[in-house]
Symmetry: D2
């Protein structure tokens, strides 16, 4: 028994055997179709995602960047050399079984929207024209107050929020029935809504429903979508930084309806880089004087964020990252006084090819200063598309396993991870990755890995 | 019991209690002085380290960058909010108890060597003049064949390698006795020796000693130092990429003499950054086409590495990093064919202020390409000095705990971590950090952390 | 005669001989002291300039960056190999003859202000303490409306603008008399004032004086200083982007009082770089899609420019540069539609060490795109100080030569060069440099250089 | 007359009127076809150039980057606002009249070679297939000793150098006759040959011809081509850094045969940038401590330069640039001791998309240090193609104007400009540009511009 304690894999005692665990989280098989509901289906992220899926089905594209499709996972000790694909370890929904349904304020079908987004090569998109043309956005629930820079006209006429929710529910149920869908996931790919804080009306399901009925000013479209999703038993993931499902009323509702929820804000370019670098800097106890981040991008996202009210929502999401990783309250001398500034600049020459430039002022031994500069020539939608896929696949897994409410193990994918009450979010990408992988190991009945590994040396 | 399995801390079962564990690794108290033996004591790293310690003792400098001095460690669940300093969790040798002894091919005392290195402000160094002047390098074991660009004359006259080792042992023992030293650690801070491979003479203690007696060409000075250290019961850590203690003869000897050993090559600027970024890229399943790394530096290290034979040793050390992190054999489509090139350029205008520029060519969803460029304006010795301190402190801990032979948990500090036979090294900084911290938790009788954390949601 | 036409030096016909030219611009000898009047004498630029002059006088510092002190000038044909120092070609005021007088809203003497600015090493500043302490700022003409982020209290009590001007005139005359000054130059080193446009009251001397008497809202402090300078016969150069002397009333007045004037806005870091790169790009007919410029800086200048109203003045100054160099109206296909954005970010960790990052999107043959990224780790005041010196020296030369009104040949030093009516400004640094040097050649009675040089091949 | 001296345009005296000048340089009309002879016609530069010309003829591509096609030139005073296109000012050969003929060691026709080069979009190249397929490389004069990394087999069998030259002459004459060509220009677009220095055999035409007859080791293929070109009356421009025409024997021959010659080494990415930045730094008297330049590229050029012997030729060409611009002998304190290092790294992931990274260590006022870092994501062939075109057009102009021997005014296009004996080369891009433009003005009978411009202020 002593030996076990030395191992770099944690024990999996008998009474927590695979059989036993399965009583807790019974994972049903992913049979039939998985319906994917997408508000903002005409945007760059959605269309890049959908076109990628279609290309994959035609064997003209590979789903690089997707953990659920290409990721491996180490099982057992290093010397066992077992690193299966995740999808070979645990039953996941198949890409071929996804069926799309969505809404957008712009009326273009998915082919035209993909062309307009300008992310993918025209040759590729043209080769998928038949498939993409069939995906057409339904009229959106929209409120210009929350995204003033959008001018689409493909909008539902109904004005009452509660009735709009009922309309969405009806639509979703019809889709499920017509297309013979087995399970549902909704993923918010719409634009960032303007910044506002939780208020009392977000406290309970009742107060929230009453506020919807009265068209209260603190009900945003993304909340109406989230409400409808949960009521239909659809898992819900939020790719933007606005509140949406992150209010007590809806987290409560999600437990009641036994659906998993997750958010907020896909972690793509600069913040992804930040949550890679910051844990590294901190692990070495290098101090931080300042971190200046600027972005240039020219897509629809850039246009929306050129509005200071919408940028405020994004800024809050982006700023919190460093505070949580560096824990200034614990490491005062190192992190008690750093200056963090984030800028996003609309710069049309770049289109979707976002570019980030970071300047990081650190200090080490005796206070001597050093600088790290990172220039990331990234592609926003290319980084976001595999996140969309993984979230769909893993949220479905969660639902099949009976995991309800907030899915903290999805933190890996978000700039502002939703966590349970009284918990602080983990922003460190490597903690997030370990959380995700150990959860998968757990669900598969495999031992956790904690990298202790003294056993190799004291046998 | 089920609940325990959901926790983000691993269980610490009763029969592996603190008492029980202590039978395995009995940690003796760090009483008395800790002797620090430094080959290459006059170099930039050594002098920056020693001057820092002296500044700290006079309260004119802080030991930023040192995990052993400033690092905290989370204990228990997130909700417990316990994050003590590591040195409050576990007994470590005190900085005030370090006593230095060293060798160098250049005869300058530590004050003059620190000035020559040009790393620290003259004002600061002058304020430490009295202390630093007292530290004088002893004549070095040196062989120009292994470091042709060095021209120092402060060299032992004895020519026979075995007798040189005996001389070192005599010196060390005299130092221990004269200064009333309790325990010893040797840390190689000398220059990088030229590249050569293990041969038969390195296989056993006997073959090694015979080879020393015959001045065999495959015995380098750093091996002679390592041999002497082990024979004196001193822990040995190797800060350069040359073989030194990383040969079967000496790892065997280390177990026999019950001393911990570790290496190779302090992980400072560019490689540190690489082992931060590469795991991040890999965690997201972003593919890699190429990684080009170039460095400019103008210190003694740069001068030595301007010799292709010495650079070869460094290059091997630097190149292996990516191979191990990306595991091309497991992820062929993503990492099966990347191009990795490392260049070091001697560029005098910069002195010790090494600058690294990396260009990383990655690809994501459907193969679309992106670029990450990192420009690190670092300071080589400022990054290395706290590593020297941590290694001294933790190697001493290991020795007091009875941990002998290769200390894999020190991988965190090395470009080419030494590991046990049949094991691959872990290069991922975050795995290394977790390994280090879970080892400390283990030694302190605390539960390991594996970040599962489902318990917060299913109570 | 044909030969002459082929030469790379332009002819200097007999009737435009040195004698003849001197009738036009009689250059009097620079005898006696040159009084230097500096509004904003306590800022980073002023103190760096003054401390540098004092260091130079004590032989502890060199005036790198100054064309008047270190610049050479080619005379005649390449084969003649004549490149004297400019100051050996033409009589210039000596650095030793400068006598400083200034105003500032902060009361610190020049020693304390230099320390506060944090630009220069404390050791150096301390060695100049005696000299610097003697330079104390007089109470400033100040109006918070024009620089809201400044909170100094060292302000003149008089409220009427016209009377304030008279007070300044009195002060200046007293200074001239008391210190036995021969000639005067005023150089505006104060902060950037908020943006506003010329109005009718700036049209004539009379309307301007009337407006001063009535405390008109469009009279800013820098205009009052400029007015006082001209009335005292002091040359006036404007180092900030605000209008100041750049209004018809004052250019008219400058001609009447026979004083040279110049402006606006010292061309230091990013804009300097822009006027180097843009002409290069244009010379090769490479097209421009966009130019994104961002800055981080943490000095007083950064603080003032954090106010959008003040930034607006700076932005206008910075933006016009590219328009003028690329001439979109002439080169529509190449430059008809580029996107230019300039950002300045207050970022305290950097202090005076401004950093600029530029991204330039260009295109070439068949429209293929390329990118240039420039990262300039500059020091604002270090770049500005030699400009201050050169302007003092050359404006004095202009005055001694009888050159009155706008000095376009000083364009080399300014972000927004003042030029005569109906002329467009030249922003290309190389045209500016040639203009400056050919003017010096002209004043010295030497032939101009136009780099034709066919003569070497057809003799 | 005095007024004229103040102008920013130089006088054009009556006896050097357009009529008079034309006696000196009689410019014949560009009638008929211009034959373009290209050694290395299958390389990336040549194919990008030719495909561009074909695209232009079909109106599917624009010749951005070409001064002869898109450049304007200011004529007269600023107030005259005359800036015609260069080709409207002076008669130039028309792009439509170019007729290509070339040699290459690889046998692919121009369509396949263009595809292989991978510079241009396949869609575009396919649209030009018919035209490009017709251009087939003739067998090359090749000597593996001078370019060891090339492995083509499309090589002439004849071994004797002199006879090879005669073969080339025969080919060229046949081409001229068969295609009814009016005038000829040869432009070397082959690879860089290995480094070697001029020797005695290069001194006179006779010694050179004798050496050819004896297959002397110092006769490289590019010399044989140059010799053949001159003998056929073809202007010759050398796009690579090897000696080629830059030997006394051939410059003498060029005068005898009345052909213009120019070289060496197309100035494209990093060196272009260097000759833009260095003059800017120097104009401001900023000192230089070091300039580190590194390149990554993955095309055939990169492969050839991976051979140290070939890189040596390139390095010499690249290094001399800074020496000449900064004139360390004149500005010792500023430029007497800078460290210049240039690296080229073969890095396949990039193909033709060369990337340069420069670090420039400068200092200013009192010696304070600053850094400029430039990252140029360029495309080698895209930058070189318009140079090829301009050289063809302007070398033809020179020939029609009777300008023979070295054309220094072409310096603008070269890394190592050829100049007359006893002259130093001008590397400053802005001096080169002014030389080029004033030569054009001169040939067109227009006044030169020297940017004096005092006239605007003293009328």
């Amino acid at each position: 028994m002593e030996k076990e304690r030395l191992e770099e894999v944690s024990s999996f005692p008998k009474d927590r055997s695979l059989e036993n665990m399965k009583k807790k989280f019974k994972i049903s098989k992913p049979k039939g179709k998985l319906g994917v509901l997408i508000p903002g289906i005409g945007g760059a992220v959605s269309t890049t995602f959908i076109a990628g899926i279609e290309a994959y089905k035609k064997k003209s594209g590979k789903l690089f960047g997707s953990l659920s499709q290409m990721g491996t996972i180490r099982i057992g000790k290093r010397t066992e050399k077992k690193t299966p694909l995740i999808k070979d370890l645990i039953d996941l929904a198949k890409v071929e079984d996804l069926e799309f349904y969505g809404w957008d304020v712009y009326p273009e079908d998915c082919y035209n929207a993909t062309i307009k987004a300008g992310v993918l090569d025209k040759n590729l998109v043209d080769s998928l024209k038949d498939e993409l043309e069939q995906i057409k956005p339904n009229k959106a629930v929209f409120n210009k107050k929350f995204a003033d820079n959008l001018n689409g006209k493909n909008i539902k006429k109904e004005k009452n929020y509660y009735k709009l929710a009922q309309d969405l529910i009806k639509e979703i149920k019809a889709f499920k029935k017509n297309k013979n869908i087995d399970r549902l996931v909704m993923i918010w790919c719409g634009s960032t809504e303007i910044f506002f804080k939780k208020s009392k009306i977000h406290d309970t399901v009742t107060s929230f429903e009453n506020a919807m009925k009265k068209n209260h000013k603190d009900i945003s479209p993304s909340m109406i979508y989230a409400y409808a999703a949960i009521k239909c038993g659809a898992a819900y993931a939020n790719g933007a930084p606005n509140l949406s499902v992150d209010i007590p009323a809806l987290t409560t509702l999600s437990k009641k309806y036994k659906v998993p929820i997750a958010g907020k804000d896909f972690k793509t370019g600069q913040t992804l880089m930040k949550t890679i670098l910051a844990p590294g800097i901190k692990s070495r106890l290098l101090g931080l004087r300042g971190w200046f981040s600027t972005n240039i991008l020219g897509n629809r996202d850039g246009e929306v964020l050129d509005n200071p009210k919408n940028f405020k929502t994004k800024e809050e999401s982006k700023l919190s990252v460093l505070e949580h990783i560096f824990q200034p309250e614990i490491n005062k001398e190192l992190y008690g006084d750093f200056y963090h500034k984030v800028r996003i600049n609309y710069y049309p020459p770049r289109g979707d090819q976002k570019e980030a430039w970071d300047n990081i002022d650190i200090f080490g031994w005796l206070g001597y200063e050093m600088q790290i500069k990172v220039n990331f020539l990234c592609r926003d939608s290319i980084l976001a598309a595999p996140i969309v896929l993984d979230l769909i696949i893993f949220m479905d897994l969660a639902q099949r396993a009976g995991m309800l409410g907030i899915q903290e193990w999805m933190s890996f994918y978000f700039k502002s991870p939703m966590v349970g009450e009284n918990l602080y979010p983990e922003h460190d990408l490597f903690i997030q990755s370990m959380k995700l992988k150990n959860t998968l190991r757990y669900l598969a009945g495999e031992k956790n890995i904690d990298h202790l590994g003294l056993d190799y040396y004291y046998e």
